[in-house]
């Protein structure tokens, strides 16, 4: 297996053994482009649209942590995304928490839920794992329909964005945008950091050959569970942020079709690539916006993309680009 980083990619004067935070030269270029886009994007694109995009990008990155680096396909990630949104919405609206605390609350509950579900689901692998996560997420959906605090099909409405740390008002779209961009970058870099830690190396070993990792003395189930919890927590952060952006938390975000959408985003962008989920989220979210007048064809088109990507295009957009330039992205 090729090593993640090459020595040549390491700029002079950096002491870490994996380059700048484990980024290769190509990845660093892509990161600079991404940050530049984040900085100038809101001046020529609609900020609310960009915020939505960033929330989904973070969600897809969290999902990618499991499929791309542990090889586990979760088909129920909407449960953590949606629950994060509900908890944050409830915390901000009913308990009056500041936005950052509301997001933390959403993340904690999503992470806890990930702990319980992960504990059950990692007993099986492959397609069984996918079916189990789907079934458990469906159970959460049913609970959210029935539970009083979610507001049933009305959802939680008029969630206040509040003031960051109690002092900086986020009601202005641009202020909110910078906050969301910061949350996204934090999550994105955190995932990258995790993958390039010694812990991340063990995850990759498990993905490549689990019996071998076990024989080397690693308790693989523990490693997988921690990855699951991290992924669920970050999905919760994404959902919580989204509910603050729009001021609403509803059943859409816990529905199984949302679990399917995040799979689609990651697949389109490139499974197991660092930037793929971001690109995939951008493509799918933009598509949904442009296709608002296409009616039921949206579902057909999404299905068609699934089929096309799986049959002809398995590396995804970023994966294909990386392949052409022979770099890792």
């Amino acid at each position: 297996m090729a090593s993640e980083t090459t020595v040549g990619a390491m700029p002079a004067g950096v002491h870490e053994s994996h380059g700048v935070w484990g980024f290769t030269k190509a990845q660093l270029t892509a990161l600079v482009l991404l940050v530049a886009f984040l900085a100038i994007g809101p001046f020529f694109l609609y900020p609310v649209f960009l915020m939505k995009l960033l929330c989904f990008a973070l969600f897809a990155c969290a999902f990618n942590l499991l499929i791309g680096y542990v090889g586990l396909l979760s088909f129920g990630h909407a449960a953590y995304f949606g629950m994060g949104g509900y908890i944050a919405g409830h915390a901000a609206k009913v308990w009056g928490l500041t936005p950052e605390l509301a997001i933390v609350a959403g993340a904690i509950v999503a992470g806890f839920q990930g702990w319980v579900f992960g504990w059950i689901a990692i007993r099986r692998q492959g397609i069984y794992f996918a079916m189990i996560t789907l079934a458990l997420a469906q159970m959460i959906y049913f609970l959210c329909v029935q539970a009083p605090f979610t507001g049933g099909e009305d959802g939680i409405q008029a969630i206040p964005r509040g003031s960051l740390f109690g002092s900086i008002s986020l009601s202005n779209d641009m202020a909110m945008y910078w906050f969301v961009a910061a949350v996204f970058l934090f999550g994105f870099l955190m995932i990258h950091r995790i993958i390039h830690s010694p812990y991340g190396q063990v995850l990759k070993a498990i993905r490549e050959n689990e019996p071998r990792a076990t024989s080397l003395g690693y308790r693989t189930d523990d490693y997988k569970l921690v990855a699951f919890i991290l992924s669920a927590t970050l999905a919760g952060v994404a959902g919580a942020t989204k509910s603050l952006v729009f001021g609403i938390a509803t059943l859409t975000d816990v529905h199984w079709s949302m679990s399917g959408e995040v799979v689609l985003m990651t697949l389109v962008g490139g499974l197991g690539t660092v930037f793929g989920p971001v690109v995939g989220a951008a493509v799918i979210v933009t598509m949904q916006n442009y296709l608002a007048e296409m009616g039921a064809w949206v579902t057909v088109i999404q299905g068609g993309i699934f089929v096309t990507v799986v049959l002809a295009f398995r590396r995804g957009i970023v994966g294909e680009i990386a392949n052409v330039f022979r770099v890792k992205l």
Partner: protein, 294 residues
């Protein structure tokens, strides 16, 4: 004793019967999934859409060709099964050398497309389909009023499951199938056309789903999303049973139908979650499923 846990015994007995009927659909769907899984090693996410297609084809046969329920029972599985064969040849067969997760993603995408096309064509509120004249009416069993059609569903579903089991366990074709599941290359070396067998197996599994769809058409609303909610429950059923054995998936299907039926009497609000809870318990105690091989 005419009351059990505060529920009149006749009512309870009736509910047991209704649970069995509901279980018939779980059994037929999970049987189809198990047949496909056995040879292709993929989970057919399109199964719910193919169940729906079965019901719609029954409607089309009646509305466009004037062919009634009994023809539908014969033709709809053949037609939908044939579309399954095409899907397998054109798409699924390209993925056998890859991770099985790709098969799951592919069939999920196909399912989305089918559902979307049907919603565009037929709208979302559904289509009417009546119970055939021969099966109208009801029996008075003394303790309850039993529609003839429901009785027919149970008998027919049981017969289908039994026939499938017989084919797989007792015939030469079934022996090839089982052998190919264990070692496809070796069976191929004996001169059996394994790729064709795989294609036909997929078609047969799909046909089972369509047959369940025809059975459902007179009693449930025929609409494009009718298969989606059902299939997630069937996935849980499959996880509980483990997909190792044909008989296991049938027994689990009927059994869970009864459990769900009982929950509808004692705690109706929980009747949707009970199967998922059982799934969690089974995974914690017997990760391979009740009938599965580890």
């Amino acid at each position: 004793m005419d009351e059990i846990f505060g529920i009149p015994a006749p009512l309870l007995f009736g509910q047991l019967l209704l649970g069995l009927i509901n279980g018939a659909f779980y059994a037929m769907l999970s049987l189809g999934l198990a047949v496909i899984f056995g040879l292709l090693n993929i989970i057919n996410f399109t199964h719910g859409s193919q169940f729906m297609m079965g019901a719609f084809v029954a409607w089309m046969l009646l509305a466009w060709a004037g062919l009634g329920y009994w023809w539908a029972l014969l033709l709809a599985p053949l037609i939908v099964g044939a579309t399954g064969v095409i899907i397998e040849r054109l798409m699924i067969s390209r993925l056998y050398k890859l991770d099985h997760l790709y098969g799951l993603l592919l069939t999920f995408g196909i399912g989305l497309m089918i559902e979307g096309v049907f919603r565009n064509e037929f709208g979302s509120s559904g289509l009417p389909y009546r119970i055939p004249n021969e099966l109208q009416g009801a029996w008075d069993l003394g303790f309850m009023f039993m529609p003839v059609y429901r009785g027919w569903v149970v008998v027919f579903a049981l017969a289908c499951c039994l026939a499938t089991w017989l084919v797989i366990e007792k015939t030469r074709l079934g022996a090839y199938l089982r052998a190919a599941t264990e070692n496809a290359a070796l069976v191929q070396a004996f001169g059996v056309n394994v790729p064709r067998m795989i294609t036909l197996t997929y078609g047969a599994g799909v046909a089972l789903a369509a047959l369940a769809g025809v059975l459902a058409a007179p009693i449930y609303s025929v609409n494009p999303q009718m298969g989606t909610n059902l299939i997630i429950i069937v996935f849980a059923v499959v996880v509980i049973g483990g997909m190792g054995s044909i008989l296991g998936s049938v027994i689990t299907g009927f059994g869970l139908g009864i459990v769900e039926g009982m929950t509808k009497v004692f705690w109706p609000e929980a009747s949707s979650t009970v199967i998922f809870v059982i799934m969690a318990i089974v995974l914690l105690t017997r990760p391979a499923g009740l009938f599965g091989r580890a």
